[in-house]
């Protein structure tokens, strides 16, 4: 049953500059006393025009720029953009490259979820656990730096494979497995600490409920939708992930707690994938050079970014230049669904509810 948008006494406009909003957007909360009866969010306060920038440039340059759409989920933007060409021109990717793409992408997803824990706990006022999220995150950032040569923009996928510097030596592979173990133990302890903290649970349990029907209606995606019972993850549709044994995490509560728990459990699945990746990393080529750029019709690709569904589409002209580039990131629909989820909550909880979809305005306002 859909929530009513009731009468309001006052309006509290929040943002576009506000400590709870890591990036600029404008939620307007309509309140009766402390209770939110309506919410309206305006985006695009920092539009950068990246899609326009892509028009007519060589596809390699385009891919480099797609990585700059976001600093948290840079790999998935680049990977999905590369997949568009690979799909449009039927380019095969060597298995070793597929493994490394998955490993880098999943480590990135893990660090993204840990930022979410830090942010959410900061908003509920638990600074200690918020800061420990970043302590838990640091070993994975170091690992990403060691694997790719960079902590943020890994520049791993290229058309037909991966960049040579992201191809680990045997020594590096063993080192990565060694680094992974203590980091995973700390992460498991940390997750356990969050989930057993009665005060934290009292702040997030039963808050900001998004039902399955609402999640489908407003097209919530990613962990936000899966926490509301929507069983969908684009990774199940991507061949590169078929080498790995992992589960899609689906919960049915739909509240802030479930959105946190879904990400916690997803972190454990990510660790499974990464460990399998390093253990079973096959030998072989990392790049297929047997292809030629040319005219390509507009092709569409979907991927599962840390926050949910990522859409990229473009075509190529005869010279291999990009035409009609389009990108849609998960936060647009996730924030839209949070407008509904926060109804009936107190203002403080409503801000938390918005944050619980892990909005990334850098991607959204690309």
């Amino acid at each position: 049953m859909e929530k009513d948008r009731g009468e309001a006494d006052v309006e509290i406009p929040v943002g576009i500059v506000h400590p709870a909003l890591l990036e600029p957007y404008r939620p307007r909360f309509f309140l009766q006393d402390e209770v939110v009866t309506d919410c309206e969010i305006t985006l695009d306060a920092q539009h950068r025009g990246i899609e326009r920038m892509m028009e007519g440039i060589p596809v390699d340059k385009c891919n480099i720029i797609t990585e700059r759409i976001c600093g948290i989920c840079s790999c998935v933007h680049l990977w999905n953009s590369v997949r568009v060409v690979e799909k449009g021109l039927n380019i095969e990717v060597p298995v070793r490259a597929q493994y490394m793409r998955v490993i880098i992408n999943e480590l990135e997803r893990l660090t993204s979820h840990l930022i979410f824990f830090g942010h959410a706990l900061e908003i509920i006022g638990h600074e200690t656990l918020g800061m420990r999220a970043f302590i838990a995150r640091e070993p994975f950032m170091i690992l990403l730096g060691e694997l790719s040569g960079n902590r943020v923009h890994y520049a791993c996928p290229i058309i037909g494979g991966i960049r040579p510097r992201c191809n680990p030596t045997e020594e590096m592979r063993k080192k990565a497995l060694t680094m992974l173990k203590p980091a995973a133990e700390y992460l498991a302890d940390y997750a356990d600490r969050i989930l057993k903290d009665a005060m934290v649970m009292s702040r997030i349990d039963g808050i900001g409920v998004l039902t399955k029907e609402e999640a489908i209606k407003y097209h919530a995606v990613g962990p936000t939708a899966r926490a509301s019972g929507v069983n969908w993850d684009w990774r199940t549709e991507i061949d590169d992930f078929k080498h790995f044994d992992w589960d899609v995490i689906v919960l049915d509560g739909g509240d802030v707690k479930d959105r946190v728990v879904a990400r916690v459990l997803e972190c454990l699945e990510i660790l499974k994938i990464v460990e399998q990746g390093f253990k079973n990393l096959p030998e072989g080529e990392i790049r297929n050079r047997d292809w030629k750029l040319g005219k390509m019709p507009v092709t569409t690709c979907y991927h599962e970014a840390p926050r949910g569904e990522l859409y990229d589409s473009y075509g190529l002209d005869e010279k291999g230049n990009v035409r009609h580039y389009k990108c849609r990131t998960p936060t647009v629909t996730n924030l839209g669904s949070m407008e509904v989820a926060c109804l009936g909550e107190h203002l403080t909880d409503a801000v938390l509810t918005l944050a619980s979809c892990d909005p990334c305005l850098c991607c959204t306002n690309r």
Binding site: I12, G15, I16, P19, T42, I124, M199
Partner: protein
Amino acid sequence: MDYINFIISTVVLALIALFFGPVFLGIERKIQARIQQRIGPPILTPGTWSILKFWYKKPFTPNSPMPKLYHRLLPATILAILFVLWLTNPEWWGILSLATLVAIVGIMKAEEVMYVVMGALSRSILSVTMPYGDVVKGAVTKGKIRRFFEGQSAVRFIKHITIASFPIYIGIFIPAVMVRSIYLEDIVLYQGDFLNLHPILFTIPGFIGAVVYFVGYVAQLNDYPFTIAKAKGDLIEGAPLEYGAHARGNYYILRGVWMFVLSSLFVTLFFGIPPVVNFTTWLGISQLVMHVLLTFVLPIIVSVLSAFGPILTFKQLYPVSFGFTAIGVFGVLLAL
């Protein structure tokens, strides 16, 4: 009445509060930083040096309908809360019979109301006046009164005063019930002299009172987890948001002094050691030193609690406050 001693006591106590209050702010930050596995700032930086720094910043006029009053609330409140400290000093006990718990509670209420006034007087540029074209561009809801963060903070402070203050007042009155007197002099004398102390804290009702007082102490300081009236997640900082430059320095002083004064009141009521200023004997000096040392206890415990507590919204605040009030009432019954 010895006017010289009276003046010396008054000035010395004010200086002690003004010095140690900001130090408490630093201790709080340092302990929290250590819990958060950070080095944290030097102890004098968040309070003492920050205040000096803010005093020498370019003056900042807040976006308030009455900026002068908004600024002057701070020194007025600092002066008011210093009276709580002064009234616990034996030199003040004879003045107009003011040294009673009723007078102290009255001053504490005035301090709380100051925050409501603060909230009502501030108009931060970070909320309603933040220029953004979201109303004219096809907004669904138009024409509602737009409230500043500080206005919402003032509304929350009213609720906070009503509900969250119960524990500290119950805690304050438990010693009075045990002694059967609201006069501070009687409460202190009941616990014996400095060399032969029988603190109320070490009795069952006294211990309950101390626990309840501590919870109220955190609520009075609007510290985590009782910081809903100035929750960073939505109201940024609430009522004091627009204090900048020298006024921000004064706000830090207010916060630090209030922390010291409430701790000092705790030591007087529950340890039976009032802030006596007597530099002529070693006993007098020892008593003052002991008093100051014991004032560190509550801020240290608060720092640990704050580091591990999320902000409680009113949904949690009401039951917590009523729960501790009920415990306090049980303490009162035991004291009877």
